[in-house]
């Protein structure tokens, strides 16, 4: 048993904080509240300093296959509300290819991603409750796949050179890299102004070599993708809820009513303490999931537990924070409102708490 962070991990956190504190100023975040939310300048800064290679094997130019390192990146991006949506690129595409592909052209994408190029995923489908079973279909004829279907909540698709798509076929589930100029995309307006797209694939023709995994491993690869996606989103949630909790602590320690700071009322401090408890639980279940995923490809229950805690912590801490801030919490000149919207996004994307409780319940009762 050893919960300690390695020296390099604390250093990553500290140096990321330094950069993000400088870059994610209130003025700049305000601009991205209305503009297309993608900070090119910040992305290239992170690329130049090697942060996009966290969790990537040295062989491909990264700093080592450690998902805990990558978790720190998402935690800090969440904490600073950075205008970068990188789960699709760094997690879905880079991590899945790293684990499942042996094809040089695919592996080359990892190097490109590390240097700041965007490649994204298109996995989720409107109203499909089971992303492991995509509605999007591929007809296989000879060496060609003809893909038809609709995906949504694909990140930064307009900036992406290629898109990793999950499909069903007569060979089962496949993960396929599709050239983005072969699909039609439209931008969705999301509550947090995140750069999310709907992707329509209308008989898109791709070569068999675009499948990123060995024959018969598609479902395994998709499951892995969904699991690390959950865990890294939970790390985003951790940063977001950590920030909200610290805002609560500092605001209620300064705001005075009835001649004293409101944080000295037990009703207030106890609600803040409950935020702290949720936050600690989330931190620990995330740590367990990341560490276990480092050594084991299938950690579905650990991933579900972390996403369940992320969903609950996002919801509870967000509303406690708004309530304890009074009107300040909803004022767009203060910072909290932005975190509340990000929290709701983290809570719902790739499985809400209730949905994942359902899934976990199936797993733990049928495996006995």
């Amino acid at each position: 048993m050893d919960f300690s962070e390695l020296t390099h991990q604390s250093e990553i956190r500290d140096s990321l904080d330094k950069i993000l504190l400088e870059q994610c100023t209130p003025e700049k975040l305000k601009e991205f509240d209305v503009d297309f939310k993608h900070d090119e300048q910040l992305l290239s800064l992170l690329a130049r300093n090697g942060y996009l290679g966290l969790g990537i094997n040295e062989e491909y130019g990264g700093s080592g296959e450690n998902l805990y390192d990558l978790g720190i990146l998402f935690e800090r991006l969440g904490y600073h509300a950075a205008p970068l949506s990188l789960v699709g690129c760094l997690v879905d595409v880079a991590q899945t290819i790293q684990k499942f592909s042996e094809e040089k052209t695919h592996l080359a994408l990892i190097g490109a991603i590390i240097s700041g190029e965007i490649h994204t995923s298109a996995i989720l489908e409107p109203l499909n409750q089971d992303p492991e079973n995509p509605l999007t279909r591929a007809e296989i004829s000879g060496d060609n796949l003809i893909i038809t279907g609709t995906k949504y909540l694909s990140e930064l698709t307009s900036k992406s050179k290629s898109i990793l798509v999950s499909v069903n076929s007569n060979e089962g589930v496949l993960l396929v890299l599709v050239d983005s100029n072969k699909v039609s995309i439209s931008e969705l307006a999301t509550t947090a102004n995140s750069p999310a797209f709907k992707v329509d694939l209308d008989s898109v023709n791709v070569d068999r070599s675009a499948i990123i995994h060995a024959d018969g491993r598609g479902l395994e690869a998709l499951k892995y993708l969904l699991q690390i996606n959950m865990v890294m989103r939970s790390y985003l949630a951790l940063g977001i809820t950590e920030k909200m909790t610290s805002l609560v602590a500092s605001y209620t320690s300064e705001r005075e009513q009835f001649g004293r700071v409101i944080g000295s009322f037990q009703a207030v401090s106890h609600r803040a303490a409950d935020c702290f408890i949720d936050l600690e639980c989330l931190r620990l279940v995330n740590q367990q999931a990341a560490v276990n995923l480092n050594t084991n490809l299938d950690c579905e229950n650990d991933a579900l537990v972390s996403k369940i805690w992320a969903g609950n912590a996002c919801h509870r801490i967000s509303y406690s924070a708004q309530h304890l801030h009074g009107g300040t919490g909803v004022d767009k000149d203060y910072v909290l409102w932005r975190y509340c919207l990000l929290a709701k996004e983290c809570e719902l994307i790739n499985g809400s708490a209730s949905q994942n409780i359902d899934k976990l319940g199936l797993n733990i009762t049928s495996n006995q």
């Binding site: 602590a249 320690s253 106890h270 702290f276 976990l360 319940g361 733990i364």
Partner: protein
């Protein structure tokens, strides 16, 4: 980073599991099912304690030079976990809190006579801290010990003195300085329960666990019954609080109950094709408990790991206490819902399930949210030490 037991720790756990399999004879199990002996004290229990003493399984936290095993906090946690899973009412407070304090700070008599017997499994202590008017504010206690030429004269009343009905001694906190500020005038004494000035009345509780009000009427004890320095008792009371609190919220019992209810639900047919565990709401309840137990396990493990390195994180210790005690209440409810009305049947009833352990744990869980440092105080600590918020009033 390793978020699981290492090889050595896993080996200890397996060894302990095997040991307790052998220790819990059918006769002992039957005795422990009797409400009178839920907390121990019966002949089979006494026999088992002596066996454990002889086998060297008492005194885990004690220093080696005092005859103990000097296990690390993680190993102690594993011990508590394994014992609690079996349901054996191991007297942790006697053996792991009072014992090592007497062995370290007691008089020569206490070291030879009391500490050795605790190690051999021959003595049980009741804890005399709380009083009718001193609970959460323990330092306001009023039981008096007045210095006489060759000892102390003790008068007062204690509340919630559990195990007193079969204890040999009371580990008693009494006021010895009436001028000093609250916590600065308290001393610790070993008080024999066979003294004619000692009496008690039973308090029967919701969970059918007996506790007691104990009375101290002109009891004289020699100087050698004082433990530690005079007026310095408070530090003895608080010295092991963190390990004690952690033992209260050990994840073992709730995880064991989860597994047992799951096994039962999977084998309980509700019609020709379905078992109880096939119902979706039942699965949801199990999943809620699973997700909660995982967090509890990690909180406790992290705490022991912090203690192992000799550090103390006040906020996280309180997180463990609050989260654990409140989660138990919720988990027992969710598991009782699964068994529904069957959960209401007592263990000697026809149709009773799991030996009625479910309802019994539910009935006894409520004491943990206020016992061992009430959760309001713990939340105050979290806000102050964890969030650096102002002191509440």
């Amino acid at each position: 980073m390793l978020i699981q037991l290492n090889t050595k720790q896993a080996k200890l756990k397996a060894e302990l599991q095997e040991y307790f399999e052998g220790l819990l004879t059918p006769a002992l199990r039957t005795e422990l099912n009797n409400p009178k002996h839920f907390e121990g004290g019966g002949p089979e229990f006494k026999k088992a304690m002596r066996t454990m003493g002889a086998d060297g399984w008492i005194g885990l936290s004690w220093k080696k030079e005092l005859g103990g095993k000097e296990l690390s906090p993680i190993e102690q946690y594993i011990f508590v976990e394994t014992v609690m899973r079996t349901g054996f009412p191991f007297p942790f407070l006697t053996t792991e809190s009072v014992g090592p304090m007497i062995a370290e700070h007691g008089s020569d008599w206490a070291k030879e006579e009391i500490a050795t017997k605790i190690l051999r499994g021959e003595l049980i202590f009741g804890i005399g801290y709380s009083e009718p008017n001193s609970g959460t504010d323990l330092a306001s206690l009023q039981t008096k010990a007045i210095k006489e030429p060759d000892g102390y004269l003790i008068n007062g009343q204690k509340m919630w003195t559990s195990l007193a009905n079969f204890s040999d001694y009371i580990w008693l906190a009494a006021r010895t300085d009436f001028e000093a500020k609250n916590h600065k005038g308290i001393s610790m004494f070993i008080v024999p329960t066979d003294d004619p000035g000692f009496s008690m009345s039973a308090i029967n509780t919701l969970g059918d666990v007996r506790t007691n009000a104990t009375f101290y009427d002109n009891i004289r004890v020699p100087d050698s019954n004082l433990v530690g320095e005079i007026n310095h008792g408070w530090s003895l009371i608080t010295s092991q609080l963190n390990l004690e609190r952690l033992a209260l919220v050990n994840h073992g019992p709730v995880e064991e109950l989860y597994r047992n209810v799951l096994k039962l639900a999977e084998t309980t047919k509700i019609n020709n094709d379905q078992s109880l565990a096939d119902l979706s709401w039942v699965k949801h309840n199990f999943a809620q408990v699973y997700a909660g137990v995982e967090a509890l396990k990690l909180i406790c493990w992290k705490q022991t790991w912090i203690m192992e390195s000799g550090q103390l994180n006040m906020a996280e210790a309180s997180v463990a206490k609050v989260y654990g005690s409140e989660f138990f209440i919720e988990a027992y409810r969710l598991l009782m819902e699964i068994m529904g009305e069957l959960s209401l049947l007592k263990n000697d009833s026809e149709l009773s399930v799991l030996n009625a352990k479910l309802e019994r744990m539910y009935r006894t869980a409520s004491i943990l949210t206020f016992g061992g440092g009430t959760n309001e105080v713990q939340r105050d600590i979290i806000a102050m030490a964890g969030l650096l918020m102002p002191r509440t009033r």
